[in-house]
Symmetry: C2
Subunit: 193 residues, 2 copies
């Protein structure tokens, strides 16, 4: 699995990886592959599971570190970016999988994102930051937040990991996206349709 991730991290697309290629990278003979996976799709599914762990760790860290609400977005975006940098290959895989060729992987990633959004909604409720929003509207907002951040992911993966200037640009831009969304949420239905 880490061999596959390594290749993806080097810019290859998961869909174009072959069994032999992966085992070669893993320093193991091709037939060994079948001891662990039935085919590449299977490997992809297991990677999605591990990706889930990575995302959960990120969520936990965000929950612990965001103490005061006023810096909530800056800090969350910061934590997100740090995790992406620390697990670049995983996030490459995630970005690819969203439009990948395995329906199952696609659905897996999508469901991780839904989970993430619903946890975010819970947190906002708990922190009493969304008292005027109905459950449906809060869910909508959080979904949009998660999508926006996920899209920033593709920006982030497009620049070199040590191009601090560009990364900072992305950080600010993503933060402003979130602020814009939350301003919208704050005034939602006070004038919305």
């Amino acid at each position: 699995m880490s061999a596959a991730l390594t290749l993806v991290g080097k810019g290859r697309h998961f869909a174009s990886l072959g069994i032999r290629e992966v085992t070669r990278q893993a320093g193991v003979v091709p037939t060994s592959f079948y001891r662990h996976f039935r085919n590449m799709d299977d490997l992809g599914l297991q990677l999605v599971d591990e990706l889930g762990l990575v995302l959960r760790r990120m969520m936990r860290e965000a929950r612990n570190n965001v103490l005061q609400a006023d810096k909530l977005m800056e800090e969350s975006v910061g934590i997100f970016i740090n995790h992406v940098q620390a697990n670049r290959s995983f996030f490459f895989f995630m970005a690819q999988g969203l439009a990948g060729e395995s329906r199952a992987v696609q659905e897996g990633i999508r469901s991780e994102m839904r989970f993430f959004a619903s946890e975010l909604a819970n947190d906002l409720r708990r922190l009493r930051l969304a008292e005027h929003l109905s459950d449906g509207d809060l869910e909508l907002t959080c979904d949009l937040v998660v999508r926006s951040v996920a899209f920033s992911l593709t920006d982030l993966l497009g620049v070199s990991p040590d191009d601090d200037y560009q990364i900072d640009q992305i950080r600010r831009r993503t933060t402003r996206f979130l602020q814009l969304i939350f301003v919208g949420a704050a005034h939602w239905k006070s004038e919305g349709a």
Copy 2:
């Protein structure tokens, strides 16, 4: 090129297509490929160019058909969805290319999106719908709009093209995303940081 698109439309990922496979689908001998493209990346780049045309057509239609401002978002989202349905394979290619393995294709698609966002900003200025926003903030808003719609693209491509119920769900959800963003834009800086 349409052979490649056809394969992509059938669920294959562009990165995993081979020359022989494409020529086979095109009903032509493998060597003919080289009469038109140097390699698969080259083919991808030319597809991006054609994708640009598709997007421009869509934009033109949106401009012509959205007469009154109050239904602007519903109608734009509707036009978007119609175009996606009518050019499904193209949009599959677009969704894949955003995290594809050819940096050039990636950059091409990204630049189409930037263009789209800036045209949207122009239109909003022209329609006097964003008078209180600075150029930078308008650009930010339009970028977020385009990203949100692009993300809905992956939703749309994930459901069967004749599952009218689900498509309508996506339509409504996307519209609400846009409304949320524009409510945010309307109140931006009136209280934003």
